[in-house]
């Protein structure tokens, strides 16, 4: 226990359809933030460890800071309805690495209805891309409508696919009320500056104590026999 730091790491979920650029965004965030924050990543690719391997190859984080979760054909189940495998991964990272500031949980590519459980993450980012069609924000769905941050990615492709960014901005604003939307191109902005700034801000605010309790994975009730040695001398 570290009573001087009662709150655990801030957990941010990154979801969105297949191919929208979630993993590239995670890599960009790690590159931008790993120098200033203690960061770890949990990936949920439906095909075993592909995303985790991508991150390792990209060299954005040391191997031991990346965990891959398998989701049994149901990526949305693993981040929303049955979060146990993801909680295991988060717990293992915290046990193995000690105190962390930020854990990014990247969902497997899914559909517009996928959202993260509040029992797993504190905040969530939903990533769509212009090549998926400029109608996506209008279609809505819980990801577009309720995510704490909506990222419209690959804006550099807009002229090539005939996507109207103005329409996407208008529809996103209509769907999301006061929730923020950012437009991003990792080609022109490899540091993903607006997303990085938003994440940095979330980490600076820390974990809401109520949420910390909510998202805590309570161990079974402990008896005194399991008590660990206390004090500086232990270990």
């Amino acid at each position: 226990m570290r009573p001087e730091h009662p709150a655990r790491a801030v957990r941010i979920g990154i979801g969105g359809p297949v191919g929208s650029g979630k993993t590239a965004l995670v890599a960009a965030l790690c590159r931008a933030l790993a120098g200033e924050l203690r960061v770890a990543v949990v990936t949920n690719d439906i095909y075993t460890t592909e995303d985790a391997d991508f991150l390792r190859r990209a060299g954005v984080l040391p191997d031991d800071r990346i965990r891959a979760v398998e989701t049994g054909c149901c990526p949305h189940t693993a981040i929303r309805d049955d979060i146990s495998a993801n909680l295991d991964a988060v717990e293992e990272l915290e046990e193995d690495l000690g105190e962390l500031d930020l854990i990014l949980v990247e969902s497997g590519g899914d559909n517009l209805t996928a959202t993260f459980s509040k029992g797993l993450v504190d905040h969530q980012i939903f990533v769509v891309d212009v090549a998926g069609g400029d109608k996506v924000p209008r279609k809505g769905g819980p990801g577009v409508t309720t995510a704490d941050l909506l990222v419209v990615n690959k804006t550099d492709l807009a002229p090539l696919v005939g996507a109207d960014l103005g329409v996407m901005a208008r529809d996103a604003a209509a769907r999301r009320g006061n929730l923020p939307t950012v437009f991003l191109t990792l080609v022109g902005d490899p540091g993903a500056e607006p997303v990085t700034a938003w994440v940095r801000d979330r980490v600076a605010h820390g974990v809401d104590p109520a949420a910390a309790d909510h998202a805590e994975s309570a161990p079974p009730h402990t008896h005194s026999a399991n008590a660990e040695p206390h004090g500086a001398g232990a270990g």
Partner: protein, 248 residues
């Protein structure tokens, strides 16, 4: 005992990590051993008679160890008919943690494949987490935070106020539905036909659960030890795949 509580623990939607495991079906499908309804039926029958019976026996024995034999002795008769009082979570008569650890070791000894041991402990850990949140009286035991799944079923059942026979039922039935739903997802089988198979196996679940409860006090070495060698081999191969959809 509360029937509704039994349904809570047996529900496939219980957030305890089961959806990510195929119970060996993914490996069997890839090997061509399971490819249609008839081969799935054979798989389920074989798995239930081996891994299923072991899981039932160890879940029942764990539940018995945690709910204690004292009450049943005091009341006389079959321990599994003692619980006709209203159900719901209740205090433990006595926690025999050493017995739980021995049972956990007993599953290790019965599980040849390291990959299956890891999968069982991963599911045990997830179920224990769920139980601790749902039934705050869930005890810690000497089996630790990552017991084998059948042991975790026994612990959760005890915490929920269920009896050994219900613990066994959850273990054996969950093994069948986990494998069956994985087959639906992997092979696109008709879900009605697959559920008809599950229903067909229901009496076998009842029979195995009753047997498990009857033997819940036996020494660990005398509990069932059936295994299916292809499940072990398949699990070891599966763990090396680059591309797989299920954790086991």
């Amino acid at each position: 005992m509360s029937l509704s509580t039994l349904l809570v623990l047996a529900d496939g939607r219980l957030p305890a990590g089961a959806h990510a495991h195929s119970g060996g079906v993914e490996a069997a499908v890839a090997a061509g051993r399971v490819h249609d309804l008839a081969t799935l039926r054979s798989f389920l029958v074989g798995r239930t008679a081996t891994a299923g019976e072991v899981a039932a026996a160890f879940a029942a024995a764990t539940c018995r160890a945690l709910t204690g034999p004292q009450l049943q002795d005091a009341l006389g008769g079959s321990p599994d008919r003692r619980g006709d009082e209203p159900g719901g979570p209740r205090a433990f008569a006595g926690v025999d943690s050493d017995r739980v650890r021995e049972l956990d070791d007993g599953i290790d000894a019965r599980t040849a494949s390291p990959a299956l041991r890891a999968a069982s402990r991963a599911q045990g850990r997830a179920l224990l987490r769920a139980a601790a949140r749902i039934w705050p009286t869930t005890p810690s035991t000497t089996a630790g935070k990552q017991p084998h799944h059948p042991v975790a079923v026994g612990i959760a059942a005890a915490a929920a106020g269920l009896r050994p026979r219900e613990a066994a039922l959850v273990a054996v039935y969950g093994g069948i539905t986990g494998s069956a739903s994985a087959a639906v997802r992997l092979l696109g089988l008709d879900p009605y036909a697959v559920h008809a198979l599950v229903a067909e196996l229901a009496p076998e679940c009842d029979r195995l659960a009753a047997r498990a409860a009857d033997r819940a006090d036996l020494p660990v070495d005398d509990l069932p030890a059936g295994s299916a060698i292809l499940l072990d081999i398949g699990a070891e191969q599966h763990a090396t795949w680059e591309v797989r959809l299920f954790a086991s």
